[in-house]
Amino acid sequence: MITSASLRNCLIALVCGTALLILPGWPAAARSVPQRKTSTRQKRKARLPSLIGTQIRVIDEAGVKRLLERGTPPQERPLLVNFWATWCVPCREEFPDLVKIDADYRDKGLEFVTISLDDLTEMKTAVTSFLRSQRAKMPVFLLDVPDQGTIIELIDETWHGDMPATFLYDQTGKVVYKYRGPIKPEELRAEIDKLIGIKQ
């Protein structure tokens, strides 16, 4: 039965698919994301460093672009990006599922970062304490840009900036799955499994 919701999703899929077809290729080799005290890490090329414990860093527009540049040759790992904020109730509610996905997939080859829209002044307070309470280990970036609209457009033209929102990129940097609203963990896991070659 065709429900209005499925019809709507089909339409969105069609629109998004068309948008993707006209996207240019993802250029250049990936570099590590800028950090403050990172001389060794910055010299190390390629993917984001694996992290022990939560690291919260600031990211600007250039940083987001570098993060999304999966580049040629393709990266070893697919990339999962989640947009959230401590003030966003559904974001907080889905966070335990994201922490579990990170724990289950990081060693299986998934790169996972979250981008927080919290105010920079809350970096060491609300954001840190929330991540600690969640025992979150994935890298967390606080977005610091003068115009958020450019980032929303950069990520997805059809996105209005509503949060939470989750995007899964394959090894070549192509968006293969996106979800606006709290994720459905099983659906997201199935998409990740496809990318890292786990049979379902």
Binding site: L11, G17, G149, T158, H160, V175, Y177, G181
Partner: protein
């Protein structure tokens, strides 16, 4: 001949379905429909206010334009804009712009809307939507503004300005759009985005 036509139709339908099914990046989630595009007329609708009285879009039209803003009672971003939204209403009401808030969150009741407006000093009309007008306009986030000109066409859609806290405003997109519309000039930026809370539709 007719048979060929029908099988051709079925074939093209199958191709279309397959194309949709295999397109990468298929979207999912609480996403709105395509909504109303810039330049398109906004179809009439009716919505109740928190007291249950019904208002039609036709009855809400300002002489020189109408501004709908999707708002929330519990979203910090929407609440961060309360004063700026009220100021837009105060600044432009005498110039023939009607400002109307729409609450389309199923998690927030009509009573919540009424209490919230009183507490926050919002004096413009606020209506309660079960999601149908959010779908019609394509709204997904709070706050999200829809500016409609005197002829009933959508002329601006998106954020109020670029700064949630109001301390780093570099782009007063909504006011710029209203000013251009009132001056009869083309609107430079007809759409602009900002992060906010997703609208919690009840379906």
């Amino acid at each position: 001949m007719k048979k060929h036509y029908i099988s051709g139709l079925i074939l093209s339908l199958l191709v279309a379905v397959a194309a949709i099914a295999f397109v990468p990046g298929a979207a999912a989630g609480e996403t709105p429909g395509t909504g109303t595009a810039i330049g398109q007329p906004v179809a009439d609708f009716t919505l109740p206010d928190p007291d249950g009285k019904t208002h039609s879009f036709a009855s809400l039209k300002g002489k020189n334009g109408t501004l709908f803003i999707f708002i929330a009672t519990r979203c910090p971003v929407s609440n961060g804009y309360n004063e700026r939204m009220e100021k837009v209403w105060q600044d432009y009401r005498a110039r023939g712009i009607n400002v109307v808030g729409i609450n389309a969150n199923s998690t927030e009741t009509a009573a919540d809307v009424k209490t919230h407006a009183a507490e926050k000093g919002l004096t413009f009309q606020i209506l309660k939507d079960d999601g149908k007008v959010a779908d019609q306009l394509g709204a997904a986030v709070t706050p999200e503004a829809y500016l409609i000109d005197a002829s009933g066409k959508l002329v601006y859609h998106g954020r109020i300005d670029n700064s949630i806290k109001g301390d780093a405003i570099i782009s007063t997109d909504l006011r710029d759009a209203i000013d251009s519309m009132l001056a009869g000039k083309p609107i430079a930026k007809t759409e602009a985005k900002a992060f906010g809370c997703s609208i919690k539709r009840g379906k």
